[in-house]
Each structure stands twice: as structure tokens, then as C-alpha cells.
Subunit: 171 residues, 2 copies
């Protein structure tokens, strides 16, 4: 299946110049800040516009930060459910009224709700820090992302080639 997808790829890639299939950088898009001086900038990387002062890594880290808060709330809720049902109810009730999309905003609101909520917020903050630094499997994340992009690309091309072959065989 792989080979037919690759065949289709080379057959189709005539409208826009195909990107090189090697692991090298794309030579047709030089880094904006290239100078004649040798620099320590990674100028063999593709230019990514639209992130302003921030980087794609910073944006991804911000998303992960909110995700870790969400995970910490799940962890704390599961812990409380078994040995402190009252606090569990308070947490669930608070969750119903506040969005977890912005983790820091969620914690700040919880801090100011009541003294009991304040301690709950402190605990969530400690758990998200411990989860990020100790429990979250960063190498696994990278491995899964590599696998996902390869498999998704192959699947998308395979599905398309199968569809096309089907249409052509019906003619």
C-alpha cells in the first residue's frame, strides 16, 4: 500500500514544486535573518510566521499548561471522591460554574471563592506542578506525535489512492 501511495505522490506532484523528501531543510525558503556572517541562529529551519514575539513552542507549552491544570483537577477529584466526599462535591459544583479552558484563571477564581476552595486551589496547583515535572511522559509524547504524523499522512494518502482507483476502475 505504501508503494502505491508513493507512486501516486510522485505522479501528482506537478502543480506545485514538491518539498524534498529527505530530512534536510527546505532550501527554497531561506531564513529571514540570514547574514553573511556565520551566526548561531538555526537558519536551516523553516520560517514560521504569525507567532509574533512568541514561538510555536511557547504556544504549545501554554496549551500543555492548561492541559496539566485539567489533568490535576481530574487527579484531585478522584482523590477526594474516596475520602472527602464533601470537598469533592464542592469541587464538582465549582467546576460546573467555571471553565477550565484557562487553567490560571480557574485557579485564581477558586482562590477567591472561600477558604476551603483556596486550599483546593493550592492543592490543584501543586498537583499540576508535580504532574508536569514528574509524572508526564515527555518522551512518550514525542514518540506518539512522530508516530501520529507518519501514520496520518500514510492513511490520508492511502484512502485517497483507494478512492481514486475505485473511480477509475468503474469507468
Amino acid at each position: 500500500m505504501e508503494s502505491s501511495a508513493t507512486l501516486s505522490l510522485s505522479q501528482l506532484a506537478y502543480v506545485y514544486p514538491a518539498t524534498p523528501r529527505s530530512n534536510k531543510a527546505y532550501p527554497f525558503w531561506p531564513c529571514k535573518r540570514r547574514s553573511s556572517q556565520p551566526t548561531r541562529l538555526h537558519c536551516n529551519k523553516m520560517y514560521v510566521p504569525g507567532f509574533g514575539e512568541a514561538s510555536p513552542e511557547a504556544k504549545a507549552a501554554k496549551n500543555l499548561h492548561n492541559f496539566f491544570t485539567y489533568v490535576a483537577v481530574k487527579i484531585v477529584a478522584a482523590q477526594l471522591e474516596s475520602y472527602n466526599p464533601e470537598a469533592y462535591e464542592e469541587l464538582i459544583e465549582f467546576l460546573g460554574r467555571h471553565s477550565l479552558n484557562d487553567g490560571d484563571k480557574f485557579c485564581a477564581s477558586m482562590f477567591r471563592e472561600s477558604s476551603r476552595h483556596k486550599n483546593l486551589a493550592l492543592r490543584i496547583m501543586e498537583v499540576r506542578s508535580a504532574y508536569c515535572k514528574n509524572d508526564f511522559e515527555w518522551d512518550n509524547l514525542k514518540r506518539l506525535a512522530f508516530k501520529m504524523v507518519t501514520e496520518s499522512n500514510t492513511r490520508l494518502m492511502t484512502e485517497y489512492v483507494l478512492e481514486t482507483s475505485h473511480v477509475e476502475s468503474e469507468k
Copy 2:
């Protein structure tokens, strides 16, 4: 400032048992599948409920996968803008009609739009793979996430302590 925040933390943490401040695992929540046999499972990790068969890492990788598609579209658009305005217009027009929230769905739709779009989709898929595997700084992501969780926690506590001190000094 750090010391006053820590002081407040120990003063306040009486309603719910505080989580240990060391880097060790939380002993009061043993892993669900702990057995008397020594196993290779990482049972010293916190139990994270609610992810079913998947893991938090798989969920985060899926989000990153969509993010890489978004970045790839940005990269390809910037490349086309300078040397192929016609293809650039086509890409922007397509972007106006299709959501980038699901990267694979976006690519699949683009594949089936026209033969020109098909090549554009192939290019986006190759760029997202190259970006994920070569350009994206995974170590930097981890470093930024560590920094973000520490700084956010300190900031949230500091802000709260400042507010509280202010109220108390007004009494």
C-alpha cells in the same frame, strides 16, 4: 515575596491535607492496579482518571498533531505568498471555508477539492511531518512548560497574598 507566599501556604493548608512538597509521589493515593507481586508498572505515579483507553500523553500528542498541521499551513502559505500568489490565494480561500481544528479532516477535504488543492495538501502533510520531526524544539517545549507551571503558581499565590495583606492592613 517567595517566602511570604510559602508562609501563607503553610498557614492556610488545614482544611484538606496538603500534598507533599517534595518531588516524591503522593503516598495517599496508591495506583489502582497495585498488586503484591513486583511489577514493572509505574505505580508511584498519580492516578489520572477519565482518559479511557487513551493516555494523557496520547491526548496531548493529538492536540500537538493538529497544532503541527496549523503551523504547516502557516509555513506553506508564507512560502507560496512570495513566489506563487495564485496558489496562495487558493489556500487562503480554502482556509476561509474549512476549519483547521481537525488537521486530518482539513487535509482530507483539501485532497478532494481539486488536483491543485491535492498537491497543496500533500505539501502541507510533508511540511507538518518535517516540522514535527526536525524543526520543533521538544526540549524547549518541556523547559517552557516547567518554567510556566512554576512561575504561574508563584504568581497566583503572590497575587493572592498581596490582596489579602492589603485587606488586612485596611482593617
